[in-house]
């Protein structure tokens, strides 16, 4: 399930030759993000290591992970929405068993600078943490 979703995104991204077009697509994805309500934007939900502000709140609904998020950066929203697309509706155990390295095919590290790459890493970690919590 996860790997199919990754493959879908990979193909979508590969379709664009120019970086700028990839980004237009990513920004577009961000528009469809499951936005976190303002009243829920607690500092504890902030992801460290991001140059921009990112709030991320995974929750467990019917045994599956649902993620809401928001950012003041439109591009980061897009990146989060890729993660949301990949991990939403998945059971915690599947997320835990997932090998983070499999995300590398998306080359998100290539299109994102070291600093932000770091932020992305922290976002994934946050999702994994919650998954570990709920699997118990």
């Amino acid at each position: 399930m996860i790997s199919e979703r990754i493959e879908k995104i990979r193909q979508d991204l590969e379709f664009f030759e120019e970086d700028i077009d990839k980004y237009e697509y990513i920004v577009d994805l961000g528009r469809r993000l499951n936005i976190l309500e303002d009243e829920l934007k607690d500092d504890s939900l902030l992801i460290h290591g991001c140059t921009s502000k990112v709030w991320l709140l995974p929750s467990l609904v019917d045994g599956k992970i649902i993620i809401k998020a928001d950012s003041n950066s439109v591009i980061v929203k897009g990146l989060v929405s890729i993660l949301v697309y990949i991990f939403s509706g998945i059971e915690p155990l599947d997320i835990i068993n997932f090998n983070v390295k499999d995300l590398e095919v998306l080359n998100l590290t290539e299109i994102i600078s070291p600093t932000r790459q770091n932020g992305l890493f922290h976002m994934i970690n946050r999702i994994l943490e919650y998954a570990a919590l709920w699997r118990l």
Binding site: E18, I20, K22, E24, V27, R31, S73, V74, I75
Partner: protein, 394 residues
């Protein structure tokens, strides 16, 4: 074309608009570094052989040339540092620390001219005073005079040109004003030495500091000019080899300035290349640099005028650096999308967080110009910017 002097532009088709951060390097700078490493590489000041002497001679030639470049008098001192940051730290440590109750800075300082004062335990109103600014970000000279009156015999540390906004401080006026209240003065010339014809013998500050890497020279080297009237009041900063006349286990006696401030093996290749960097500036000519900047900034202003929701910070007399924001868009997003179009600009707080906070923003997007910047760069920047805004606004 000036770009032809810079190998970087032969190897890249990037629109480089981040010269305030570091400038590209002309071939003559690189050649001088390579010549040192491949023809006469050796250490300085200790030579008993030919190449050691040649290196020492070249090193001291750089010192003299750069001192003259800024209009220093023979009796003034030019100390080589790692850069502006080290220059300010050196002065903070070796001169200001125990001698001044108050340090006064402007609102537009780079972190390098804020945190060394914090390190001494100075905080706002408590050993550190900050000069207010007018709506257009120019300095509030009345407030400065107030501060100087209330804090006689203080130390004024101020940037010549703001890195974040390109605001030029009226340095001569500021120096004259400060002298009335017996202040000593350091000027941070990081953004000025590469574009203004400086004349220390006329300005007569106590200190003036700048970095080679922003003057088309190598990384890891800078200069600190010290007025002859105060050089003897400075204590050594770092010590070690080459600053020493005699050492026993009991004590060390120092060599005269500038040597006593240059401990250890220096960035020799850097110092040699530094000279070539400022030589290059001279060969382009301050007038040409100014005319080119003026022309480009005029275009920049008029292009910004055509875009909705843009705030351009400053007084419309910006020198080299122009900061702006676009309503509803974070500067970082713009920076990324410009990058993807091969346009290098800087997004963020530009190491000037306090003024950003005071303006109620997280940061800006900054364009900054170099001698090689031209109209084509500006056109490409604006078409890239418009495209980026379109994508981000959806």
């Amino acid at each position: 074309m000036i770009k032809d002097d810079f190998p970087y532009f032969r190897n890249n088709n990037i629109v480089y608009l981040d010269s305030a951060s570091t400038t590209q390097k002309p071939q003559i700078v690189l050649d001088s570094i390579m010549e040192y490493y491949t023809h006469y590489c050796s250490n300085t000041h200790r030579g008993s052989y030919n190449h050691g002497d040649k290196t020492t001679t070249k090193f001291e030639e750089s010192r003299n040339y750069i001192k003259e470049f800024i209009g220093g008098r023979p009796k003034d001192t030019l100390i080589f540092t790692k850069g502006v940051t080290e220059g300010i730290n050196l002065v903070a440590n070796s001169y200001v620390k125990n001698n001044f109750k108050s340090v006064i800075i402007s609102s537009l300082e780079h972190h390098s001219n804020i945190t060394p004062w914090h390190m001494q335990g100075r905080t706002l109103g408590n050993g550190l005073e900050v000069i207010g600014y007018n709506k257009d970000l120019t300095i509030d000279l009345n407030h400065l005079e107030d501060l100087l009156k209330k804090n006689r015999d203080s130390f004024l540390s101020i940037t010549h040109i703001s890195n974040a906004f390109g605001i030029l401080h009226p340095i001569k006026e500021i120096i004259d004003l400060s002298r009335k209240y017996n202040a000593k003065i350091l000027i941070d010339g990081a953004q000025a030495a590469n574009k203004l014809k400086l004349d220390m013998s006329w300005l007569q500050p106590d200190f003036y500091t700048f970095s080679a890497h922003k003057c088309y020279g190598p990384t890891g080297v800078g200069a600190l000019y010290v007025n002859s009237s105060i050089i003897n009041d400075l204590t050594p900063y770092q010590t070690g080899g080459a600053v020493i006349d005699r050492v026993s286990y009991k004590q060390s006696t120092y060599l005269p300035a500038p040597l006593k401030f240059e401990a250890g093996t220096q960035n020799i290749a850097g110092v040699i290349g530094f000279k070539k960097g400022v030589e290059y500036i001279k060969s382009v000519g301050f007038n040409n640099i100014k005319e080119n900047e003026k022309k480009l900034i005029k275009i920049i202003y008029s292009e910004f005028n055509k875009i909705d929701g843009v705030t351009v910070w400053g007084d419309t007399h910006n020198m080299g650096n122009i900061s702006f924001n676009v309503d509803g868009i974070t500067p970082i997003d713009l920076g990324i999308l410009l990058d993807k179009q091969k346009i290098a600009v800087r997004a963020g707080h530009h190491c000037a967080m306090p003024i950003m906070e005071s303006l109620g923003i997280d940061g800006t997007l900054r364009i900054s110009l170099g001698v090689y910047s031209n109209e084509s760069d500006i056109q490409l920047f604006f078409s890239g910017l418009i495209k980026a805004i379109k994508i981000l606004r959806g």
